[in-house]
Assembly symmetry: C2
Homo-oligomer: 190 residues x 2
């Protein structure tokens, strides 16, 4: 069984190494992790971004499930590319799992970026735009996609010291995926 | 033919009115606009967010296409809920269209939010995370999804005075959707 490993991990300085660790964790649970950077892309090519898109798309079609890293990226919510991929996999009827290493609520995170206040019964930001305030970790479309198309979002009780390299919540997702997909763990044979 | 009208428009103070204008524009091109706020949701209900998710999901299944408002929302990139929906519709093989009323490039927008510099051949932000620098308006997954699953992102030559209420780029999307879906314009009969 194959798992597409989505997340802004690909933007980390040690993006290849974190992918290797994720693939290895999948293997220990009897699953094959598909990591975007394992596609061979010539970044100097004129159509590099299109090649990345096509490579990721092919991996998603091949995969049975997605584990999306929804840890907030460059703002109060998840990385857009990861969110697109979660939607794409949900649209394809694949098993959807995700984790967020920041356990705070979306509305509380927005407060760190901008002034937020109650106005006419709505929670609004400094631009007068409504701040979703349903007690969820992020936009309701992603959170409930996980609830209904896979497994509820995994969050740690408190943020790990290293938000980008702690794979505890990721491993919980891998374990749940293995259970749901009926994979045979490789651990006993090591 | 039915068009799902995705976007952070639902977070505007005049969210209902902007939806009414969008639906009316669709009608003038012979299309039926489906706007999330037209679902009757009791926001005081315990499961309000789940009801919204289910309502939006049902609208997307019913729709033949999506027009996504990808104007940057609360950060350098598009609204996460909208991006999820674009992915979901692409995954379902529906026609995908989108517009962004901010014509600047993603990398330039990131510069407004944080310090960005070249480091070891990569453009990185203050946290050392790579900033996508392919000369695109937003994350490549969304931009190329539009290229390959519908019509190229529509952006104005310069940002309109009212980023949230100017529907020129939206109307371009409606026109393209009508052409692609073979809708009969309603204008002549008015």
């Amino acid at each position: 069984m194959k798992i597409y490993l989505a997340g802004p991990d690909v933007f980390l300085p040690d993006a290849v190494e974190i992918g290797r660790r994720k693939v290895e964790l999948c293997r220990s649970y009897g699953l094959t992790g598909l990591y975007p950077l394992d596609n061979a892309i010539d970044l100097s090519a004129r159509d590099a971004s299109l090649d990345i898109f096509k490579g990721n798309g092919a991996m998603m079609i091949e995969a049975d499930a997605i584990i999306a890293n929804l840890t907030p990226f460059r703002g109060p919510g998840a990385d857009a590319g990861t969110v697109y991929e979660l939607g794409y996999m949900a649209g394809h009827g694949k098993l959807c799992l995700g984790y967020c290493n920041d356990p705070t609520l979306y509305a509380d995170r927005v407060r760190k970026f901008t002034t937020v206040e109650q106005q006419d019964g709505r929670l609004v930001d400094v631009d007068g735009l409504t701040v979703e305030d349903f007690g969820l970790s992020d936009n309701l479309m992603m959170i409930h996609a996980l609830d209904l198309h896979g497994c509820t979002l995994v969050t740690p009780p408190q943020a790990p010291a290293d938000l980008w390299h702690d794979l505890t919540a990721f491993e919980t997702c891998v374990r749940m995926a293995a259970e749901r997909l009926g994979a045979a763990p490789a651990r006993a044979s090591r």
